[in-house]
Amino acid sequence: MIARASTATAERVLRQLRHDHRTVALLLVVPCVLLTLLKYLFEDQPQTFDRIGVPLVGLFPLLQMFIVTSVTMLRERTSGTLERLMASPLAKLDLLAGYAAAFALVGIAQASLVATYALAALGLDTSANGLAVVALAAANALLGMSLGLLASAFARTEFQATQFMPAFILPQLLLCGLFIPRERMAGALETLANALPATYAYDALDRLASDGALGARGTIDIAAVLGLILVALALGAATLRRRTA
C-alpha cells in the first residue's frame, strides 16, 4: 500500500519537474556555470578552486532542492491539492517518501553531471571518490528537501518561499567553512556554525576532498546530516495537518 502511493507521488513530482523544461535546464546548467566562474576567478590560485570545488558540487543540491521543494509544497498547500490528498487514502509518510525519492534522484542526476563537468572540463584536481561525492550530494538533496518542506509551512506566498533561501540557507553556506575556515571565525559564530545543518554537509564533503576518505569524523558528519534530515522531516510532517481550520 505505502509503496504504491509513494511511488505514484515520486513519479508525479518528477513529471511536474519534467513539464518545466526551463527549471530542469537551470538546475543542471547553473551549477556548471557557477563552477566555471569560480575556476576563472581563482585562476592564479588553482588550489583554492580544488579545495572548494568538491564541496560546491555536493552543496548545490542542498540549495536548489530547498527552493524547489519549498515552492512545490507551498503550491500544494495553496492550490487545494494538499487538502485533497489529506482527504484521500494517502498517508503523510507516503507523501514525504514520494518527495524524498523524487528529489534524491534529481540530486543524484544533478551531482553526477556537475561532478563530471568539473572533473573533465574544468580540470578539478581531487582525490575524492566520485561515487562518494554523488552519494553525499543525494543526502544533501534530501536535507534541502526536508528543510524546504519545513520552510513552506511558514510562507503564505511564493515570493516569501523564495526569500527563505537567502534567509535560511545562505547564512548556513556563509558559516559552514566554505569561505573562511570555521576556526578563524569569532567564537560565537563558530558555535552558531556548529549548530547548522550545512556545516556537517560541508565537512563531510571537505574531508572527502582533502583526505580522499571520510574517516571517523566524516562518518560522524554524515550521521549528523542524516539525523538532521530526520529531524527536519519530522518537523515538516508535523506542519502537514490532515485537519485544518
Binding site: A5, T9, R12, R15, Q16, S79, M86, R242, R243
Partner: protein, 264 residues
C-alpha cells in the same frame, strides 16, 4: 421515501469555529446512500465547511461526523470517499491524464478506471492538455474525474457544475443520479437555486444553520411556489416574521430580482 435507506453520512450537533466566528452552530444531518442531496445556500453559509468536515479535513469544535459508520477522515474510510473541492485541486503543470492517473493510483484503483473517469466527464479529447491551459469549466470536469476515479461510495462535490454549458450540466446530473442508483451517496453544493430541481433531497443552509430539509416537491408545496429560488426566499422570510411585519412586507415576500437565485 428514503427513510429506510442506509445512512452514508451521520452528523450530530456539529460545531465549527473559524477564528472568532462560529460557522456551523450545532448542525445535525443524515445523508442516505443512493440519493443525490443538494446543499444549497449563499456563499458564506457554511457549505464548504460542512463538506470539509465530512471528508475529515476540517478541525471540528464539537459534535460527531460519521461516514459509512466510521469517524470522518478515518484511514479506513478515506478510500471510500471522493472529494471535489471548489478550488479545483489539480496539478496545473501536469496534463489532465497525469492528474487523473495520479489520483487513481492514490485511490488504489486499477489504471483502466482513469480512462473511464475521463470518458464519464467527456474529456477524452483533452487528456494530453496541461491543466493550466484549460478553461474553468474544463478544469472543473478534470477535477470531477479525479474525484470519481476511485468509484467512491460517498461523493462530496463542491460546486461541480459552475461555469459548465447547459448540455454538459444535464449530462453530469444524469451521471450523478446513475451513481446514486448504483448505491452511492452524493452531496452536491451550489449557490445557485436552479440546480435544486435536479436533486432528490435538498438541504438549505443559511448562516450555519439548516433552514430546511425537504425534497424539491415538498419545498414547493410548503412555500406555495414552483420556483425554488422563490421558495428559499419565502423560507427565509418565515424565519423572521417579526422583521416582515415591521417592514410591513407581504407574507409572500416581495424580494428584489437581483437577490433571487444567487442569495449572495
Amino acid at each position: 421515501m428514503t427513510g429506510l435507506a442506509r445512512a452514508a453520512v451521520e452528523i450530530d450537533d456539529l460545531r465549527v469555529r473559524r477564528g472568532d466566528r462560529e460557522v456551523l452552530h450545532g448542525l445535525s444531518l443524515t445523508i442516505a446512500a443512493g440519493t443525490v442531496t443538494g446543499l444549497l445556500g449563499p456563499s458564506g453559509s457554511g457549505k464548504t465547511t460542512l463538506m470539509r468536515a465530512i471528508v475529515g479535513v476540517q478541525l471540528v469544535d464539537a459534535g460527531s461526523v460519521r461516514v459509512l459508520g466510521q469517524p470522518a477522515g478515518a484511514a479506513s474510510v478515506r478510500s471510500r470517499v471522493g472529494y471535489m473541492t471548489q478550488a479545483r485541486g489539480l496539478y496545473e503543470d501536469l496534463t489532465v491524464r497525469e492528474n487523473v492517473r495520479y489520483f487513481c493510483r492514490i485511490a488504489g484503483a486499477p489504471a483502466a478506471r482513469a480512462e473511464e473517469a475521463l470518458a464519464s466527464v467527456r474529456l477524452e479529447s483533452l487528456v494530453d492538455r496541461v491543466v493550466r491551459t484549460l478553461s474553468g469549466g474544463e478544469q472543473a470536469r478534470a477535477s470531477l474525474a479525479t474525484a470519481l476515479v476511485g468509484r467512491p461510495e460517498v461523493l462530496i462535490l463542491d460546486e461541480p457544475t459552475v461555469g459548465l454549458d447547459p448540455l454538459l450540466r444535464r449530462d453530469l446530473w444524469r451521471m450523478f443520479h446513475r451513481l446514486a442508483d448504483e448505491g452511492a451517496a452524493l452531496l452536491v453544493s451550489s449557490h445557485v437555486m436552479d440546480e435544486a430541481a435536479n436533486c432528490d433531497e435538498l438541504v438549505l443552509l443559511r448562516e450555519g444553520d439548516i433552514l430546511a430539509r425537504a425534497t424539491p416537491d415538498e419545498l414547493r408545496e410548503r412555500t406555495n411556489t414552483d420556483d425554488l429560488a422563490e421558495a428559499f426566499l419565502r423560507l427565509i422570510e418565515r424565519e423572521r416574521p417579526s422583521d416582515g411585519r415591521e417592514l410591513s412586507m407581504p407574507a409572500s415576500g416581495a424580494v428584489p430580482d437581483d437577490v433571487r437565485g444567487q442569495g449572495a
